[in-house]
């Protein structure tokens, strides 16, 4: 009976209630960590010896970029689970992930461009990371476009799941090829984004932000998941009971 939890996770009313109960456990720590991380990053950490205060945007840029990939992976795993075991809730999770991931990707692109201005003197540089991030945004947009294009929810779920799995196989290939491409054309004077070493006073707030963003994603995912489940189960009797109660 070790699989009971797995089966219960396939039941929409259970997941709906569970998501409601779990949300504050993600939301509050996320808020605290992000506030702490921002305080540490924007106030406590010393200015960078090369970039001055400009480097502080890393406290938003790096976690966003990290999340954009993590959300895509989460989405693909959920989609694969839904595809293989035909669990509808897993598809609902994948569908809820996409707009969040696209927003993180967009945030990473915007902060990257803003950071580029002081660093490179231009808002857009065909840097391998920014280019990969842009392609990732297109992958998200394609996923959401496919879902929007297919009217039948079941078909949309399953077709977009195939796309997510194909996408996750491709992400490393794309990243590798873009890095390879950039190494051919790059002028050697361009600074790298990541520093090999970082002072602890700079690093700790960054780690806080990373953890905070991850929990924030969890909280938003749970809220979106409840909406998604409500929408999918709108004609089910358990929803009528909740509404009437």
């Amino acid at each position: 009976m070790t699989w009971t939890w797995f089966h219960r996770l396939g039941s929409p009313p259970y997941v709906y209630a569970l998501a409601a109960r779990l949300t504050p456990w993600f939301a509050w720590p996320a808020a605290l960590l992000i506030i702490g991380g921002l305080w540490g990053g924007l106030v406590l950490a010393p200015p960078d010896y090369q970039q001055g205060d400009g480097f502080r945007i890393i406290y938003v840029h790096a976690p966003s970029a990290w999340m954009s990939l993590m959300v895509y992976t989460t989405m693909a795993v959920a989609a694969a689970v839904g595809l293989i075991w035909r669990i509808k809730v897993a598809h609902a999770v994948a569908a809820s992930c996409a707009p969040i991931g696209a927003s993180f990707t967009f945030a990473a692109l915007v902060t990257g461009a803003l950071w580029g201005e002081p660093m490179w003197g231009t808002y857009w540089e065909w840097d391998p990371r920014l280019t990969s991030e842009l392609i990732l945004l297109f992958l998200y947009l394609g996923y959401m476009g496919l879902r929007a294009g297919l009217e039948d929810t079941q078909r949309a779920d399953r077709a977009s799941a195939v796309l997510a799995v194909v996408g996750v196989v491709n992400v490393p290939i794309i990243h590798y090829s873009v890095t390879w491409w950039n190494s051919l054309h790059q002028a050697p004077s361009v600074m790298r984004l990541a520093k090999p070493t970082m002072a602890a006073s700079m690093l700790v707030p960054l780690l806080l932000m990373l953890l905070g963003f991850t929990l924030f994603f969890g909280a938003v995912l749970l809220v979106r998941l409840r909406g998604e489940v409500l929408n999918r189960e709108r004609s089910a009797s358990w929803i009528r009971e909740i509404v009437n109660a």
Partner: protein
């Protein structure tokens, strides 16, 4: 074979003893998989040659895209030679995308895909056969035409073999990646823009390695490395893309 109007009762009386014999369904010997795949390939080729006008369209499109650049940038061959790899590959990518929309659409519409899915044959192999036909009809002609476009951009004829090889290998990967997008967008009206949105990001590695191979072919450098990477992508595509496309086709039939 008696008159159509004859009551079936007579047939029952004659044929009933057969019903218990194991040979009743002898006529239903499943065709070998390779025969089935070959037949699916031949069918698509024959159909394409019945509609020759459509075959020329991607090629004409490719020629036109190539023509845009001298007109938009400059007729100086020295400058065109520099951008030739990019022009060739962007053109090939768009031309192969243009033809993708027709890969499964008619077959979905007239029930052929349904019959393939229920044929008892591996749908993956039948889809692979269809994709192979698609490559023979668009990728290969594009590879043969690419040198013409390259020559018009001031590339020397020594680069021709390298260009043909890189476009031929790269277009295999493009057809395979495209087959996934084409299968996923089945049943969506006006799916052209969505198909590009799904397929182009996945095709970018092919573009990168292909353009690099072409660039090296033009400059006379060693192009084996990018060509091998292209081939690796094609092999990966051959092994994985038909699986994904077949899964997508099955989903479209649900």
């Amino acid at each position: 074979m008696s008159g159509y109007g004859s009551p079936a009762a007579g047939v029952v009386a004659q044929a009933a003893p057969l019903a218990r014999q194991a040979t009743v369904w002898a006529g239903s010997h499943q065709a070998p998989l390779l025969d089935a795949a070959r037949l699916a390939l031949a069918r698509d080729l024959q159909l394409a040659f019945r509609k020759r006008g459509q075959l020329v369209q991607p090629l004409a499109f490719f020629a036109m895209v190539t023509m845009l650049f001298p007109l938009a940038i400059s007729p100086e061959l020295a400058r065109l030679r520099e951008i030739a790899p990019g022009v060739l590959w962007a053109g090939a990518l768009l031309a192969s995308l243009l033809a993708l929309e027709f890969l499964f659409r008619d077959d979905a519409y007239d029930g052929t895909l349904e019959q393939y899915a229920l044929s008892g044959q591996s749908l993956t192999w039948l889809i692979f056969a269809k994709t192979a036909a698609h490559w023979l009809l668009t990728g290969l002609p594009l590879a043969l035409m690419a040198p013409l476009a390259a020559l018009s951009l001031g590339v020397s004829d020594a680069a021709v073999p390298g260009i043909v090889a890189s476009v031929a290998v790269g277009s295999v990967a493009l057809s395979l990646i495209g087959s996934i997008g084409a299968a996923l967008t089945l049943g969506i009206k006006r799916s052209g823009a969505l198909l590009s949105l799904l397929t182009l990001p996945l095709s970018l590695p092919v573009l990168i390695f292909g353009a690099r191979a072409t660039q090296l072919a033009i400059s006379g450098g060693p192009l084996l490395a990018p060509l091998e990477l292209l081939a690796a992508l094609a092999v990966l595509g051959v092994t994985l893309a038909p699986l994904a496309a077949a899964a997508a086709v099955r989903i479209s039939l649900e």
